[in-house]
């Protein structure tokens, strides 16, 4: 998969300890690749990845512009192209943004210093860059973290890690965009560490559209202090292999998180969502809603683990996973799991896998809608329930367009749906 010489060719990062890197490399080499015999990987086979030989590290920025992606990216942004930071496309760095290719971070969580999992080790060894956002001020504008890959990324590997710290009482929004402009065979590992201090609030929206041949493995760890609040949204438009591991640790009283996700898998996409929510303190609250729409020969896995510790009385957890399986060549796997060690809790979870609801379809048809229109409407409505949970209306309608294009839905139909909503605002 990755040779010694490729490791040696990694650019030196002034902010990343070289001993740490070497340790991680050595540990990674001794570790076997997870196989389908490992419970956490039983539905995701890495055999093909293992056979793929990557020959290039992160490459120097090419001449891309943000016009190449059909999404409005505001000024407040940091762009990485093919794994490397691109200052020309980014806002100027300031005292609160630390780039590993320039300087060391003020602190690195211990867990990141001693990575345990296979891909975190690889990430620590091969790291191409990373940004620490130390958020001390409220802002009305979201900060965008963008990773673009173009056709020059063929057979390359990119490894990023970001750390987002939101200080006490501060509200912030981050939008992370991973966009593959070409269907290149590439491997991306991404580690994102989120720390919310007391009373902090973060909306984190993650949009991923990798190329159809891309391997994209992301780990997000969030630690929430007392009264802090995380809303995490994970929109995945597929990849050859897309794996999103998210863990949220509710460490302080009244900490709350919402983890929502939408997986749109088609063609040969493989989307593997693994979430873990740990209620470690009293009166913590979690809400999780993940949905999958699976078409063609695609596959979606949802594994959601909610843990309620004995020391977390009066906690509330609600976990829901719904999947629409549109073909009998596609596959859906759902594992909504509860592990509970306290009686004073309210926990529910649910999961469904099925075709479009026959009752709803009949209802719409009995009102005169054609089979095709009714189906499209129901599929879009299914996705929209997740889409609507993000508050940013303009991002919402841009995403609606993505979804529409991605699922090849009748454009007028969906736009119409949004026009009605605009109407609602006018009224």
């Amino acid at each position: 998969m990755i040779s010694q010489s490729l490791f040696a060719a990694c650019a030196v990062l002034p902010g990343w300890d070289k001993h740490l890197r070497l340790d991680a490399w050595q540990n990674w080499q001794t570790m076997p690749l997870p196989t389908i015999r490992d419970e956490a990987w039983k539905y995701t086979n890495l055999a093909r990845l293992e056979k793929t030989i990557f020959i290039k590290p992160a490459t120097t920025p090419s001449s891309l512009t943000l016009n190449d992606i059909p999404l409005t990216i505001p000024e407040d942004r940091f762009c990485f192209i093919n794994g490397s930071f691109n200052p020309a496309l980014s806002a100027p760095l300031n005292a609160e943004s630390y780039l590993l290719s320039q300087r060391a971070w003020p602190s690195i969580p211990k867990k990141q210093q001693t990575p345990v999992s296979y891909f975190e080790r690889l990430n620590a060894a091969m790291l191409s860059d990373g940004l620490y956002l130390d958020i001390k001020k409220n802002s009305n504008n979201p900060i965008y973290l963008v990773l673009l890959q173009d056709k020059t990324a063929e057979f390359s590997t990119h490894h990023l890690r970001h750390r987002i710290k939101v200080h006490a009482g501060i509200k912030s929004e981050i939008v992370i965009v991973d966009w593959g402009l070409a269907d290149t065979t590439s491997l991306t590992t991404y580690v994102i560490d989120i720390e919310l201090s007391e009373g902090a609030e973060l909306n984190c929206i993650h949009l991923k559209k990798a190329g159809t041949q891309g391997y994209h493995i992301r780990q997000t760890h969030a630690h929430l202090a007392k009264n802090s609040h995380l809303n995490h949204f994970n929109f995945d438009f597929g990849a050859k292999l897309s794996r999103n591991e998210i863990s949220a640790w509710l460490q302080g009283e009244h900490a709350a998180c919402q983890l929502n996700g939408l997986a749109l898998a088609r063609a040969q996409d493989h989307i593997d969502n693994q979430t873990k929510i740990g209620h470690l303190a009293p009166k913590t609250n979690s809400l999780e809603q993940y949905r999958g729409i699976i078409d063609d020969k695609a596959c979606h896995i949802f594994h959601g683990h909610v843990l309620i510790d004995a020391h977390a009385p009066d906690s509330i957890a609600n976990q829901q996973n719904k999947n629409i399986l549109l073909t009998s060549t596609g596959q859906a796997y759902a594992e909504p799991q509860l592990e509970i060690y306290n009686q004073n809790v309210q926990c529910i979870h649910g999961a469904t896998v099925g075709d479009i609801d026959a009752e709803a379809l009949f209802y719409l048809r009995s009102r005169g809608l054609s089979d095709e229109i009714a189906r499209q409407l129901l599929i879009f409505g299914f996705a929209r329930s997740i889409l609507e949970t993000i508050h940013d209306k303009s991002l919402q309608s841009e995403l609606a367009l993505w979804i529409k294009t991605h699922l090849a839905l009748d454009s007028e139909l969906i736009l119409d749906l949004y026009r009605e909503d605009d109407h609602e605002d006018i009224n």
């Binding site: 759902a334 999961a351 896998v353």
Partner: protein
């Protein structure tokens, strides 16, 4: 607010009702397991060649397996060489009637309240009682014989119906299935065999009471039930065990086969010794139960009420092969003190328009850990398959755990799978409401828990429901924290 809790804590300390050991000479093999042990068991049972060959194949396979540890269970290592794999009461020939049965045995049954007398007939229950590992008494065989129903010990079936055994043994749970099932295939001592001929509806609930007795003797029963085309049978399994300090291994296998339009209803009340309040002793129960709806429109229904054992590892499953076949799993699993249960089901949808229902109720008290683990698998050709699963957990106290680990795998767009689960506790509002109506805490708890389990309990046959409700009442009282 604390007062009812104290009362309840006391109630929890109640001794195991069925704890005693009967003193009977046993014909027991020395501890240890090798190919010769397997040969000795087969020889003692006078088995035909195909049985020995099958056992040896299983033993060879088992030798290369390692004990599985994926379940949410913690227990010390089991020394399979320290177990004696055969023990039979000293009866050289099968008794012809009750008077020939060792009076000590009769006494034991009476203590347990097993009605092995005339009343059984009135109650419509035929009992094939297994004492240790060998059948010593079978009743009402003649009555069933008239209808062509075969209901006998597994050993008898091997002697008298070797063709049926050869045809069906291991056809649902093969000797390679899993560690404990392979072990069972190699060394199983006895069990029950039922065959219901085409179109026959078995007129009574067939019942076997298992009982673990001799010290250090693992129990390896094997049950095989075949319902031929259009046949119906309801089978009851229940058990109690004497109190003791050493852990006892139990690895049973149950295979059910339902042919076209046949129905099998299999109900279990399991109340083996769970260990004391400090978690010492108790049965280790590793069971493989599986039914196959082989024919179209067939139906297999499992109901279990699990209150005993220190460790429970049990997933009664249904393979829905026939089109329009139906699988059901209704379960109450209750754990108290240091008991651990990892139980659930697997529903494998292969045929078209197959349907399964799973209702699981877990109750966890004291320091116990209670896990529901389930698999719903829909294969690509199972058009119109439908599953509904509901798992509810009730936690009582602050040291116990309740866990739900469902797995859903679907490869068919015309299938529908729904899973839902909830967790609750007995609220102070409920207790107060009932107290205000004059119901004391222990009765209130029993009432609420029985209400919680009602959906499952009502699927039990009448004779069993009474016993099960009593059991819940006894085991459940008082785990409010």
């Amino acid at each position: 607010m604390t007062k009812p809790n104290e009362t309840l804590e006391n109630l929890l300390q109640q001794d195991y009702e069925h704890g005693f050991i009967t003193d009977i000479e046993s014909d027991t093999l020395p501890p240890g397991l090798n190919a010769d042990t397997v040969r000795a068991i087969s020889a003692k049972k006078n088995e035909p060649e195909f049985m020995l060959a099958w056992r040896l194949k299983a033993y060879e396979y088992w030798r290369h397996l390692t004990e599985p540890h994926w379940a949410h269970l913690k227990y010390g290592p089991i020394d399979y060489q320290a177990i004696s794999y055969y023990s039979a009461p000293k009866v050289t020939e099968g008794p012809k009637d009750l008077s020939e049965v060792d009076p000590k045995l009769i006494e034991t049954y009476n203590k347990l309240g097993i009605p092995l007398k005339e009343q059984e007939w009135l109650a419509g229950v035929a009992v094939d009682a297994v004492f240790d590992s060998i059948s010593v008494a079978t009743t009402f065989k003649d009555k069933l014989n008239e209808m062509g129903i075969i209901f006998c010990s597994f050993s008898d079936a091997v002697q008298n119906h070797p063709d049926l055994i050869q045809q069906y043994l291991g056809s649902v749970v093969p000797h390679t299935d899993n560690f404990f099932a392979s072990l069972n295939a190699a060394v199983f001592s006895d069990g029950s065999f039922v065959y219901i001929p085409p179109g026959v509806r078995c007129p009574m609930e067939l019942s076997t009471y298992f009982r673990i007795n001799a010290r250090s003797t693992g129990q390896f029963e094997r049950t095989l039930i075949i319902a031929d085309e259009g046949a119906y049978v309801s089978y009851l399994e229940g058990c109690t065990a004497p109190q003791r300090d050493e852990n006892q291994l139990h690895a049973a296998v149950v295979e059910l086969i339902a042919l076209d339009k046949a129905q099998i209803k299999y109900s279990t009340v399991q109340n083996w010794y769970p260990g004391d309040e400090n978690g010492v002793g108790g049965i280790y129960n590793f069971v493989t139960k599986r039914g196959e709806c082989r024919g179209h429109h067939s139906k297999i229904s499992w109901t279990q009420v699990e209150t005993g054992s220190a460790i429970t590892w049990k997933y009664p499953s249904v393979i829905l092969k026939g089109d329009y076949s139906v699988g059901e799993f209704y379960s109450v699993a209750l754990t108290n003190h240091h008991q651990q249960a990892d139980t659930g089901t697997k529903m494998i949808h292969i045929g078209q328009h197959t349907k399964s229902t799973v209702i699981a109720k877990g109750i966890s008290a004291g320091f116990a850990q209670n896990t529901y683990r389930g698999l719903i698998k829909v294969l690509a050709h199972a058009d119109g398959a439908h599953n509904y699963t509901r798992c509810d957990s009730l936690l009582m106290g602050t040291h116990c755990g309740a866990h739900t680990f469902p797995h859903i795998e679907s490869k068919n767009s015309r299938a529908r799978i729904e899973h839902e689960a909830s967790t609750s506790k007995i609220s102070e509002d409920q207790l107060f409401y009932l107290a205000q109506r004059g119901i004391d805490t222990e009765n209130a708890v029993s009432m609420i828990v029985n209400g919680f389990c009602k959906e499952v309990m009502k699927t039990l046959p009448m004779e069993f429901a009474v016993e099960a409700r009593k059991l819940l009442g006894l085991s459940l009282e008082g785990s409010i924290g």
